[in-house]
Symmetry: C2
Subunit: 440 residues, 2 copies
């Protein structure tokens, strides 16, 4: 006998949780589709040569990599590298700007710890341009984020926006371009480690106090969105990169307003750098206002060149990602999820005996034809056991079918929440169940 | 520069094909849910010890197996073994009969050849009983198959039904139980290799001619469903197993009729054994009448004990599986798929210039709020390029927005198929687009 055990770091849910998870996944998908993003579904396994074209350091250590026959294979660790491969491979057959979404599992052999998963869903959207891509897409993404989180039932969340050119331009001005990546990485942690630690870490890089002060003065710019933009302009920094960044950010903010994303749902946050060297312009992070400690639940940004390792064509893009598995884990832990158990079936048909099976199957057929998810309980059990089954599965209605119901072409419908019970004609049953709230 | 290449044996689709694929996958899912099957999503990676508890021979050779740290891991090669693990692991928290569906990718390192995939989707449903499971579920599954293929748009398909006890009982009667698995495997190929080859192969096992004749006489039983059942009873075979099989099959057929599966969509086929030793009762295969050569597109059956390697509890079950990736490949190759390109967006909004961007975003918001998938083309391109983009993506409508439209609060909507163009008030646009056929 072998112990049936799921590996640590791999999320596996009970059915009622899985329904909830799928519900969220589907809402994200529908939100993405509403903006015209096209579906992709690339393989989980790729040749290591392709997948690791760029990778290095930490990423490479976490990869699930193995040989099969004479092939050196790896499991994808994100959905961006497969997208780069895909766009380079099928470039001639795609229409640009290429807007795609992909919702799929990715793999990272991280140290197993609570809330960290080795297999997890990413829900990505990206817009890829051929040689160029309008800044307008940078402004469209926050409107997609807004729509998506609204559809997930959230109201209090903030999309934080910044532009990497502003930061990089500042470092250019200060003559710190050489260690800008290091400084950005440190700034990125300010929320976690605090201002003083940031100061100290930057000093450790050998940066002079005056410059550190300038950096901190910059980071601490506050006020309304428009005030921040003004203050940025007032800093008198001459770096062209800096000023391009400010004007891009100004334009993006203007257009986000055009998309009618409410003022309370976005803000400029000059400390956001997104650790990766990858991003070159607009960057996003999204926080739940009441659960700021969860960290960003939706992040991304603009990059200059998606697929430089695979093609000479310049493919700029902008994208965001929701790490759904971790997000779901967090929502469950913080009790952000609705506290109602969800079911797939709206009604359980409970035939009293063998004699009513034919009528039960007819009722089932009629309900399903009316698009009502319907399970027929087929075991010979006492009625009590059937009610218990429906209760455990959170099925909202039980349709009891006995001799009388069969003779009169009726059904006795019990509302499992209120306990109410009524005897209804078949047509009325359809009507009743069709217009009561379903789990979706 | 690294060549961007997808591995052979891994299906990767262009967006319009992916939309079609997802459409089919969703229809299968909704069909399964209509009967109350609960969703599961087990990990792709399992510990090799768990996954290979039973495997051996061919299966084991095909497994993607590797080490990560000190762990011996494997990718799942079907969805049944993970189900067995799952039910054994969470037995105390599940409700029985446990009806679950799982739609997910599985991995087999088969020799790459056309139409054979190393990564492919399986769409499984199973009903698992705790210690026992009513035969009624054996009859429910054909009604699920019927509903599913009807929802996929098929009319001419046949669900072939048999019972392994009949075959096993026959062998018992003939004193051939020792080589019954071998004989079943040979019979299973009758469609492919023909009657004579079957005769010869069975003779090669050392079976006497008289017995071979009896087997063939049995296999060749023909007539209507009821005639076949009669002829089976008339064979005068005394084996109890055989007679249990015949009475189970009779009962299953009776109930399939109760579920109103049309006579033309099911039949008894006594040659179906389903190679695997796994099945112990009812077995199913499903064929498209006009594409018989594709082989079975949906197969399964009843098994005695799902999880004997993981638990002492007896967990009988019955299930079916659709190998979606191969099926999709076949449908595309045989031109069974509808010949229309599908899109995600119902309309592309084409603003004439920067000046109309604000109004364009307003129109987009109104359409999306009415649940209409809407893309706004944001690049500064000539109108012609925007039409071409919509055409390539098969987006059915383009909403042109110029100075006049903005001033009058209207939209000029062009039907991309007919070329018709009309200027409509905003409210009318919603109405028009909402009630035209969508891709789904």
């Amino acid at each position: 006998m072998i112990e049936p055990k799921t590996l640590p770091g791999f999320m596996e849910l009970l059915p009622s949780e899985q329904i909830e998870f799928n519900n969220i996944k589907e809402k994200i998908q529908k939100s993405y589709e509403k903006f015209g993003f096209l579906p992709l579904d690339t393989p989980v396994i790729e040749s290591s040569e392709v997948l690791l074209a760029k990778a290095g350091g930490e990423t490479e250590k976490q990869i699930y990599r193995f040989n099969k026959g004479k092939n050196d294979l790896s499991l994808r660790f994100d959905l961006t590298v497969p997208l780069a491969k895909y766009v380079a491979e099928y470039w001639g057959e795609l229409s640009f700007p290429f807007k795609r979404y992909q919702i799929g599992k990715v793999y990272r052999g991280e140290k197993a710890q609570e809330g960290r998963y080795r297999e997890f869903y990413q829900c990505d959207i990206d817009i890829i341009g051929d040689e160029e891509l309008s800044l307008r897409y940078d402004a469209e993404l926050p409107s997609v984020i807004y729509e998506t989180f609204k559809n997930l039932g959230f109201e209090k969340f903030t999309i934080c926006i910044n532009n990497r050119k502003i930061l990089n331009g500042l470092f250019e001005e200060l003559g710190l371009s050489g260690c800008s990546a290091d400084i950005l990485r440190i700034i990125d942690k300010i929320e976690k480690i605090g201002k003083e630690a940031v100061e100290k870490e930057i000093a450790n890089l050998g940066v002079e106090d005056a410059k550190i002060n300038k950096i901190l003065q910059f980071i601490e710019i506050d006020g309304s969105t428009d005030e921040k933009l003004e203050k940025l302009k007032d800093l008198g920094i001459e770096s062209q990169l800096f000023n391009t960044g400010v004007s891009e950010l100004t334009e993006v903010i203007k257009q986000i307003r055009m998309y009618k994303v409410p003022e309370k749902n976005f803000k400029i946050d000059l400390t956001i750098a997104r650790g990766l060297d990858y991003y070159t312009g607009t960057v996003y992070e999204t926080f739940l206002d009441d659960y700021r400690k969860l960290g960003s639940v939706c992040s991304g940004g603009r990059y200059e060149n998606l697929a430089e390792y695979y093609t000479n064509r310049k493919l700029p893009g902008v994208g965001i990602s929701i790490g759904l598995t971790r997000f779901f884990y967090q929502m469950r832990k913080e009790n952000i999820l609705e506290n109602t158990k969800k079911s797939i079936s709206k009604v359980l048909i409970a035939p009293m005996s063998e004699n009513e099976m034919d009528y039960a199957s007819e009722v089932g057929r009629i309900l399903r034809n009316a698009n009502i998810n319907t399970e027929i309980y087929l075991e010979d059990k006492k009625l009590k056991a059937k009610f218990k089954y429906a209760d455990k599965l959170a099925i909202p209605y039980v349709a009891v079918i006995g001799e009388e119901e069969k003779q009169n072409n009726t059904v006795t419908v019990k509302n499992m929440e209120t306990g109410e019970q009524e005897n209804l004609e078949l047509g009325k049953v359809v009507e009743k169940l069709q217009f009561t709230a379903n789990f979706r």
